[in-house]
């Protein structure tokens, strides 16, 4: 009987240890990710022109989105979500390693009003986008310095198998990230509004 209780206690300590380790690891990863993004954002902002003159995208919305290279990685601009106090640089292409540096362009283009952005569920990435409310604003600045303002229209939860559902509908901008259990994707749909 005493042996049994010892095994329970041992297992309990083991799991507690594992849990604490994982929690620590997650905190470390999140901290690292927000630092990396912060640094890249600073460099990126310096490179973005103040007075955008190139209005090419208005005439040619099909053009490729311009990029800036920061430490070997390509960025298409930066995103601000004021209600969550978030500012992040956005990478041109989606990949596992790019996800550790900031949100990625999953597909589409700002100029064609069909862009989809993906990011990790880190607290300072898209981890809190589920808290966004209707009419909350999201601001995107491209590397030519054009500013686009969006407002939240609706929130969806899409099963990870529903690959096509992410593309469905006519949304100017979409943000998505994993839910807590990783089985679904918290998805925010936005509409472009007039400039402030």
């Amino acid at each position: 009987m005493k042996q049994k209780s010892n095994i329970f206690l041992l297992l309990g300590l083991l799991f507690l240890g594992l849990g604490l380790f994982l929690a620590g690891y997650n905190l470390y990863e999140e901290e690292k990710a927000s630092l990396v993004a912060e640094e890249a954002l600073m460099d990126l902002k310096e490179e973005i022109e103040d007075n955008p003159s190139k209005e090419e995208y208005v005439k040619n919305p099909d053009m490729e989105m311009p990029t800036k290279k920061i430490r070997g990685k390509r960025y298409i601009g930066w995103i601000a979500i004021p209600s969550l106090g978030i500012e992040l640089p956005v990478l041109d292409e989606y990949s596992e390693s790019n996800l550790k540096l900031g949100p990625n362009r999953y597909e589409g283009s700002l100029y064609q009003d069909n862009m989809i952005l993906i990011a990790h569920a880190y607290r300072n990435y898209f981890g809190r986008i589920g808290q966004l409310k209707k009419q909350d604003q999201v601001i995107f600045t491209d590397v030519d310095g054009h500013v686009f303002v969006y407002e939240v229209i609706q929130k969806e939860t899409i099963r990870k198998e529903d690959f096509e559902k992410m593309r469905e509908g006519d949304w100017d901008l979409t943000l998505f990230t994993c839910t807590f259990d990783n089985q679904s994707r918290t998805t925010i749909r936005l509409r472009r509004i007039e400039m402030i």
Partner: protein
Amino acid sequence: MKKNKIWISLLFLGMISFLFLPTTQAKEFNPEKKSSLTLFYEIEEVDTSDVSFSLYQVAYRKDSKTYEITKDFQKYPIVLKEENFKDLAFTLEGYVFRDDIKPYQEAKVKNQKVTFSSLEPGVYLVIGTAKKEKGMIYTPESILVSLPNLEEDWNYQVEANLKYESREETDQKLSKTVLKIWKDEESKDRPNQITVELLKDGEVVESVELSKENDWRYTFSELEANARYQVVEKEVEKGYTVWVSEEKNTYMITNLQEEKKESTGTLPNTGTTWIYAVLFLGMGGIFLLLGLLTRKKHETKE
């Protein structure tokens, strides 16, 4: 009353048959019958009589629906679609100038018009020479035309008014920007770079690589304003087709991937391992509780 009904149904029948008439007629395409093409080229107060037009056969028309590209143009990755004829004409103009393709027929404007005749069914490209007069340059817009042309019926005597671009002769320089447009849903087959050739009066004068490095755009500057320019994408990636459009001083080179692959799979994982941390912490708590409880039980028993 009855008479009225008969009249109405007769009228109705008449209307129905009228609806069917043009469609049945339109289907009668005669592959043997030759066509003619008359082009009107009028510029106010300008004598266009020494402007010459060259005619190139781009495709044969096999039946009412399909074309077969001719030998001269087979090596170019184009798809003939009527709605795209304007851009395709400019695209092919570039190839004709660069590769010096020989025309099928040539003719000079007379009384503000020019006629080509005995043309077998197909798609034809018309390119004209520029005309300088009184400090102005007039350049006719190249066109692609389908012969015979399907209007209400097959028309074997096609007529068209040619548009032209006019600009002042000047010593000033100008710039032209080229933009790359990909229509391939960010395919993995997209090449990392492509080469664009700039043609000035039929000669390649500059060649530039477009890639992510320059955001797939480039501006040719210090160009002589009085010359005639085209751009050609040097080699088009396999599986893609091309067309070039021009607006003012911007060229857009579009590459379309013809076969779109079906996308499958799941949405990428963007999660954290917080859920496991919480799970482990919970399990740790439960085991500790169990351990403590069993120990207490044991102690009270003793």
